[in-house]
């Protein structure tokens, strides 16, 4: 088991190197002179020269890359032009907001998609099956920002059930003492049910938006792999032995069918992390996505670079985690490795 984890870790290293090289090259692709760019619009030629020397832009490309890598190893992602704050600090402060939203979105998505896929597979061509097909086709066709806006219109404007789409917490409430950065968990630790409910209310709509978007692959994969397992010999034997339908479907079929679903989670995360940026913009969510969008529009490149790097590193780590999880659940993978 340990060797499998180590081998998989080793396989993630080329991906990480690739990510660092690409984010480095992205800065070099900036139109014009990066020194002029980083010095800001009102810089004198002298200031530009200073920036050039300070950033090491007068050195050969390979040496610049070395400096970039060393900076990264020290957790230095540069400084934002607009706020003057180190990018790493701002990303760290905003990351919990994005993580809480994305994880809750994924959770909602799994809670809806997995039972839907199972039901659709156990009764092919039934009403549930048709519903599953419609929902998963609609899910991939709906632009995520559009779903978000429709939800806001229906649940905020028409029904008045949801609070205004403005951030993580009502302005009249103070945020819970910082432990994990997740408001839901922090408010529970602080024993503050009012803040918990308020932050949950703010979270529901954006999380649901993300869930609708990422439902489709999970539901489709659950349905397909359940269908395959349900027609297999092991299920036939279980049925022939007179086990109850529940035991057959949940204990025998579902546990086997979950394996391919876990592999699709990798793709789902790619969707979720990208969609996160759009959802954060719709709901004025103070996460790293909206930080990057603000910086992008202000042509402030260091935060964008830091954001792309952070997202990619998280994505590589998540894929690694999924693979290890897969090995934990399925002993056959361990034998192969």
């Amino acid at each position: 088991m340990l060797t499998m984890v180590l081998k998989r870790l080793a396989m993630a290293i080329p991906s990480l190197i690739g990510v660092v090289v690409v984010t480095f090259l992205l800065t070099r692709a900036l139109p014009g002179d990066p020194a002029v760019y980083f010095a800001g619009p009102a810089a004198t030629p002298q200031a530009i020269q200073e920036v050039r020397v300070k950033l090491g832009l007068d050195k050969p490309l390979i040496e610049q890359f070395g400096r970039y890598a060393v900076d990264l190893a020290h957790g230095n992602l540069g400084t934002s032009l607009t706020t003057g704050q180190p990018v790493a600090t701002e990303l760290r402060n905003r990351l919990p907001a994005s993580a809480e939203l994305t994880l809750l979105g994924l959770l909602v998505s799994i809670v809806i998609a997995v039972p839907l896929g199972i039901l659709a597979a156990t009764k092919p061509n039934s009403l549930v099956d048709q519903a599953c097909r419609v929902i998963s086709t609609a899910g991939v066709s709906l632009p995520v920002f559009f779903t978000g806006l429709i939800l806001v219109y229906v649940f905020y404007y028409l029904l008045g059930w949801a609070p205004a789409p403005l951030g993580r917490l009502d302005v009249f409430l103070s945020e819970p003492p910082h432990v994990t950065g997740f408001y839901l968990i922090d408010s529970l630790i602080a024993g503050d049910p009012e803040t918990f409910m308020a932050s949950l209310k703010q979270l529901i709509l954006p999380a649901l938006t993300l869930a609708i978007f990422s439902l489709a692959p999970i539901a489709r994969m659950t349905r397909a792999s359940m269908l395959a397992i349900l027609s297999s010999d092991l299920v036939r034997t279980a049925r022939a032995s007179g086990l109850s339908a529940y035991t057959v479907i949940i204990t025998y079929a579902f546990r086997n069918a979950m394996l391919p679903v876990i592999t699709t989670l990798g793709m789902v995360f790619s969707f979720l992390l990208g969609a996160n940026v759009l959802v954060e913009k719709v709901f004025a969510w103070p996460g790293i996505g909206s930080y990057a969008v603000e910086a992008l529009l202000a042509s402030d490149f260091a935060p964008v670079q830091g954001f792309v790097l952070t997202m990619a590193v998280m994505y590589v780590a998540l894929n690694l985690l999924i693979d290890i999880l897969y090995g934990l659940i399925d002993p056959r993978v361990r034998l192969d490795a």
Binding site: T23, F145, L149, V152, Y153, Y157, L273, V277, V308
Partner: protein, 294 residues
Amino acid sequence: MTDIAATPRPESSLVALLRHARYVIGENPVTGFAFALFVLIALAAVFGPHLVPYDPLASDTVESLKPPSLHHWFGTDQLGRDIFSRVVVATRLDFFIAVASVALVFLMGGLAGVAAGFYGGWTDRIVGRIADTIMAFPLFVLAMGIVAALGNTVQNIIIATAIVNFPLYARIARAEANIRRDAGFVEAARLSGNADWRILALQILPNVFPILVVQMSLTMGYAILNAAGLSFIGLGVRPPTPEWGIMVAEGAQFIVSGEWWNAFFPGAALMVAVFCFNLLGDGLRDLVDPRRRT
């Protein structure tokens, strides 16, 4: 009175394809519907600006933020511009971005993948490494980074969308070229003294082509979504240019005060277009490769 001369003649391949197409559409009316929708979208893209009742850029402050009516089918926006006209005119730009980016990735990914599958070795390793590196990013995030780096223009949105789709095309093309590398007809061509490029162009590419075309239609939907997402966050297209993503973004501020039509109609147009391409892709796949039917 049977005509003896009417023995079935061998059909030309075009006739056979058309027959097969009619059969597939007959089997699955949804594909026919999707095709009709596609024709409609294409017509709007080509003739849109000549058909619409109002100038998509002309503002009329008296008529601002009016709900849908007989005069303005989709209502008017904050500057009194007719949303129906804007949605129809925007079709051309959105369609162009999607088609251009898909054509670009078809060229880049298709050629790189075919070369990787055919030659193997270093070519294969380099193409595979590039694809893996792109896949290490969440795709929309990488597209944001590329547009930010190359500059905030429509052209760069097309390039970014093409790059993030590269691994998909390269992998499919590679797999299809690889299984045909040692096929009988390729061996025969090689033994008859054909050069590598000739085998690639005349034997491998024509076989890989239909599969990539299906992929093109399947990724068109994603390309439109990706481009609209980028313009929604303010990249690429600039106001007042009519484009679906930016129209949804401009309308978003009015959702909380109940003026839903501003964001709804461009968003719905986007949804219909993506839906159409997804259905069409599924139908085309049935046509080209019935085994992969789901």
